[in-house]
């Protein structure tokens, strides 16, 4: 039991060390900008994680690269351009508005409009809802008395 505890403590220390290794003295301003940027950039190694979330070595390197560029006074757009130049639009979680991405941006709205159009046409063709005449009037009255209505 004590040995397991020791292993656990050692593992935790390793983890803490690994995290503190990334920057010796994190500057809160830089870190805040890094976080905002990195949360919108895709990690290319584990593709469904952002660079902010990923533990992949490449994500670690890219975070440091962004830190450096923030410290150099680069704007967010310049940093995003830097990433796109290397990894393509795929790094952006928010795809840019271009001819190739038109379907991506407009598609869902076009489908919604199409659905609404079909729905309207189908309901209009059917006409206004009429009272159900399949039950004779007398038996309906009987049913209502049976149900205790007056």
């Amino acid at each position: 039991m004590r040995r397991w505890l020791a292993i656990l403590v050692a593992a935790c220390c390793g983890l803490a060390y690994a995290q503190s290794e990334e920057v010796a003295k994190p500057d809160p301003v830089v870190e805040a900008r890094l976080k905002a940027l990195a949360e919108e950039l895709r990690c290319l190694v584990c593709q469904n994680q952002t660079i902010a979330d990923s533990n992949a070595p490449l994500a670690h390197d890219l975070r440091n690269e962004i830190r450096e560029q923030v410290a150099q006074g680069k704007t967010d757009d310049q940093i995003r351009e830097y990433m796109v130049a290397r990894y393509g639009d795929f790094v952006l979680y928010r795809p840019p508005w271009k001819p190739v991405t038109l379907l991506l941006w407009i598609g869902p709205f076009a489908l919604l409009a199409l659905g609404a159009f079909i729905f309207m046409r189908m309901t209009r063709r059917r006409g206004p809802a009429t009272e159900d005449e399949s039950v004779p009037r007398r038996s309906r009255a009987e049913v209502e008395t049976l149900l205790g209505k007056d």
Binding site: P57, L58, E65, R86, G88, F90
Partner: protein, 175 residues
Amino acid sequence: MKLRYILPLAAFFLLAVFLAVGLTRDPREIPSPFIGKPAPAFRVAELHEPARMIAPEDMKGKVWMLNVWASWCVSCRVEHPVLLDFARKNAVPIVGLDYKDQREDGLQWLQKLGNPYVASAFDEDGKIGIDYGVYGVPETFVIDKQGIIRYKQIGPVTPEALEAKILPLLKSLGA
């Protein structure tokens, strides 16, 4: 009236076709923005001779390949015999880029498994890798005589990829 039944069926088939095409694609293969662009410059120490600096400009006028590898990379082992075989044919020079590696480990790896490279750039901190948009080692770039990147192989160079894509491309580039 008939259209009412045909339309949903058509929509279904359209969706099925989209999904089927999606299945045949490898999501790990991201089209490189570098195709048709000049190979990013670097100037870095050679792996075997740290005093010697190597740069892509040195290869101007030649068709060449830049192969990103590392001693810690498992799939590089799969690729290695293919590269050795290719290097023996002397078709085009292969320059290695030892990515985020230890010099000792890299040297040992080449000594043990053989060295297909005319030279290996030693990218210790992975900066050159970032400049080339490397995200999954091994990766291989085919670079033409003007220094323009023409093709990028993501993952190991397989005999099939060599036959189907790389060799015809090299021929068309006048290698």
